[in-house]
Each structure stands twice: as structure tokens, then as C-alpha cells.
């Protein structure tokens, strides 16, 4: 489903991605760990060309993303959902308009079909009552849920999550993680999740990779990573494990 080959990206002299290569199989949920500034969000943005990579190749559905023209890229993007760190809801639109926005412009749906999709998406995130609210009236957790609803409303094959639980309290974080996991299984999507949240990763992931200095330093299941003797991983996960124990 997704294959990344030798991806490089730097900002001036700061090398952020240094020859990154990995594969994600269909319906697999992969988590990307790493300290702040290791290029996790940059990786997601390069994958769908929100940022241009310096070199390398990204294949999604066997198509080399970097070789697509704008029209082909937009066509591909219709099958990709992206949950941004701050949800990125359109401030000037109601929740309904936010959800309808990609449908109106990408699909030839009748009014009834559109209403049905909007209600279904809101039901999936348990926020039907928020349909006519403005984003400013929603809490952080609600915004994330609506952001998730907007991402899945187009029924994407691939979901990219950029720190889906950052800035939320532990209970809401867990709720969002469980929700993501349920939707992943219900809609049979492939997903790549960038997160610091070990609990979120445990709930969602089939496999995880750890980035350091723009490279993958370890790959495996969450249990393999957390029980590793590698000093870097021990150091990285120690705080997360303490926090996780406090939560559970």
C-alpha cells in the first residue's frame, strides 16, 4: 500500500530525513515514534507532497507520488485522509460545512446522500449534536473527533495521523485512540500514526518504527520496542512508560 525509498529532506543545513525507507502493508496500522524535531510530521507531509522532499521515492497504491502532476496528485489525495495535530477545522464554516466541503468538491452526490454521509461520519465519532456548531464552540477533544470525521467522510484507503492525542487530557486521549482503532477496523483502512503517546500506540499499532537523526533506529511491535535494551529506546520509552503507568 505504501512504500518509501531513501527519502531525504533537509531545511538549510538541518538534515531532517536521512534516507528513510519502509513499507506499510494494506490494512496495517503503523506507528512512528521519535523525539521532537526528528522529522515525523515532515515525513507525513512529504508523503502527500504538502512539502517537497529533496530526494527519494514514495509509492502509494503503486503510484510514485513525486511523479504525479497536480491533477493526478489531487485524484490520489481523495483516497487519503489526514488528521492534523490541531484538527485544522475551517474556522469560518460550521461542522456540517466542514464535513461537506470535500464531498461537494470531489463527489457527485445528491443532497440526501451527502446528508447521510455527514450523519454517518458524526455518528462514528459520537458527535451528532455538534452538527450546526462552529469550530470555536468545540473543545479540543471534540475538534479532534470532528477532524477525524472529516478525514474519514471520503472513505479513504489510507489515513495519516499527525499526533492525534497531543494536547488532550489522558481520558480524552484514550477515548480518541480507541475511536481511531475502532474506525480502522470498521473501515479497513491502512494507517500511519505519528505520536509520542505510548498508550495511543499500544491501542492502535500493529507495528512501530522509531526515528532518530532522520533514520529508522528500530522497528518492531510495541512490546519489542519497549523491552529493548537499546539505550536510546530505553531512554525514550522510560518517561512514556511512567506516564502510561500513571494513566492506567
Amino acid at each position: 500500500m505504501v512504500e518509501i525509498k531513501d527519502l531525504h529532506k533537509s531545511f538549510g543545513s538541518n538534515l531532517v530525513l536521512d534516507g528513510l525507507s519502509f513499507k506499510v502493508e494494506e490494512a496495517e496500522n503503523m506507528v512512528v515514534f521519535g523525539r521532537s524535531g526528528t522529522g515525523k510530521s515532515v515525513l507525513l507531509k512529504c508523503m502527500i507532497r504538502l512539502m517537497e522532499a529533496d530526494s527519494g521515492e514514495v509509492y502509494i497504491d503503486c503510484k510514485n507520488v513525486f511523479e504525479l502532476d497536480l491533477q493526478e496528485l489531487n485524484q490520489l489525495r481523495k483516497n487519503i485522509g489526514f488528521l492534523f495535530q490541531g484538527a485544522a477545522l475551517y474556522d469560518s464554516m460550521t461542522v456540517r460545512e466542514n464535513l461537506e466541503f470535500p464531498l461537494i468538491r470531489n463527489f457527485d452526490l445528491t443532497r440526501n446522500e451527502m446528508d447521510e454521509r455527514v450523519h454517518q461520519a458524526l455518528e462514528n465519532v459520537s458527535l451528532e449534536e455538534a452538527i450546526d456548531k462552529m469550530p470555536a464552540e468545540l473543545s479540543g477533544g471534540m475538534r479532534k473527533r470532528i477532524g477525524l470525521a472529516r478525514s474519514i467522510i471520503t472513505q479513504p484507503k489510507l489515513m495519516l495521523y499527525d499526533e492525534p492525542t497531543t494536547g488532550l487530557d489522558p481520558i480524552t486521549s484514550k477515548e480518541i485512540s480507541v475511536l481511531i482503532n475502532e474506525l480502522q477496523h470498521a473501515l479497513k483502512m491502512t494507517s500511519i500514526v505519528v505520536t509520542h503517546d505510548l498508550l495511543c500506540a499500544k491501542i492502535i499499532s500493529d507495528r512501530a518504527i522509531v526515528l532518530n537523526d532522520g533514520k529508522i533506529v528500530k522497528e518492531g511491535s510495541i512490546n519489542e520496542l519497549t523491552s529493548s535494551d537499546d539505550p536510546l529506546l530505553k531512554n525514550f520509552f522510560s518517561d512514556e512508560i511512567i506516564e502510561n503507568n500513571v494513566r492506567t
Binding site: I80, F84, A88, N106, T154
Partner: protein, 269 residues
Amino acid sequence: MNSLIKDKDNPVEFSSSLTQFFATIAGLSIFSLRFFKDVFLPPYEFGEIKKHMDELGIKTMPIVTVTGFIIGLVIAMQSQPIMKKFGAESFLPSMVALSVVRELGPVITALIFAGRVSSGIGAELGSMRVTEQIDAMEVSGVNPFRYLVATRMFATTFILPILTVYVIFISLIGAYIAVVLVQNMTWDYFIDRVIFSVEFGDAIPGVGKTFIFGYIVGLVGCYKGYTATNGTEGVGKASTSSVVVSSLLILIFDMVLVKLTLWIWPTVK
């Protein structure tokens, strides 16, 4: 030692400002080309254009009404004693009309429009950029340039001439009130003198150049907002620099267009 460091640093700062200046010019040119490439292609966002015309144009009316009225009133009040001194009071309507139609109406309306609209567009798009809303639009397969930028630029280009005609009319009312306060003149006579003195070569270039001013306001506001970086600080900078750059460009283009107008219509009174 400090002065040495300063001397050493100044050329760098100067070179950086110069680079930024040329980068802005290049950025505006590319943005402009992209606008002409995108604006004629479907899907057409008529709903958005109408919304922006209302938001950016109709809501600017109160401030331009007050300004237009005061400009007309003040010009007439200031000029009346001088005209009286030369025994040319009857030329007052013509003088006010020509000043307002050819220069003051278009330029002052454009500058007010730039102050209100360009900064608003810069702040709105800048905030959408830093909160990743523009990225979200792009990811959903929608062309954010066409949806956010082309619609706003189209709206500003066509709403400013309408506002300008309105301001000219309001200014003439202001001028008439000032005239009536000090001398006996009927509205019919006042308007008759205005129509008599204002020719095609005065009105068309005067109002015509506001299409370009409106385009500049939309272009600069959209460019500054769309390319904003560095969080809320960047949004503030985008908003402020939108007003500064668009006001400056309006005045520079006005100078060029006046020269061009006099070249095309050399017989203009």
C-alpha cells in the same frame, strides 16, 4: 568594537532586506500569473465570490461613506475662500468634481480599502496557513489557491470600482452641502456644472484605474497571508505588511497610470 560589529552587520542586514524585497516582487509576480491561470478554469466558485464581495465590499461602505462625504465637504470648504478671492466661486463645483473624479476619489477609496480589506485578507489567510487549514484543503483534493485566493482577488478587483463611483457621488453631496452653507446655489446648478466639467477622459481613467488598485489589494493581501509562516507572529506581520505594501503599490501605480492617462488623452482638461 561595537561599531565595528555594527558596520560589519549592516551590509548583511541591507542585503537581507534587499533579498526580501526582490523575493516579494518575484512572489507577487508568480502569484499574479497563477491567478490568471486558475481564475478561468472550472470549478467556478461563484458562491465564494459573492460572499467575498459582500464581506469585503458592502461592509466597507460605512467607512468610505464617511470618508467620501468629509473629503467633498473639506475640499469645498478649503477652496471656497480662495475661489471667492479670484471671483471664481461658480467654478467650485467643477473644481471639486474634477479633483474627486480624477484623483482623490479613486486613490483615497483604494487606500481605505487597502487598510480594511488587505489586512483582513492577510490575517485570515495567514491564520488559515499557520493552523494548517490550507494544508487540510489541499489534502482533501481541493485547490486552495482557486478557492481562497482567486475568489478574493476577483472580488476585490470588481468591488473597488463600484465603491469608488459611490464615494465620488457621496463626495459631491458633501461638497454641495459645504457650498450651500456659504453661498446660494441650487443642487440642479451644482450638478449641471459637475456634468459640464467632467469628461470621458476624466471619468474613465479615474474609475478604470481602481480595477488595478482592487487587484493590487487582493493580490498583496492574499500573497502575504497565503505565504505566512512562524505562527501568530507571522499572522500579525502578514496583516501589517499587506497594508504597507498594497498602499505603497497603489501610490506607485497611480503615479504611473496618471502619466499613462495623460499620454493617451493629452487633450484632457
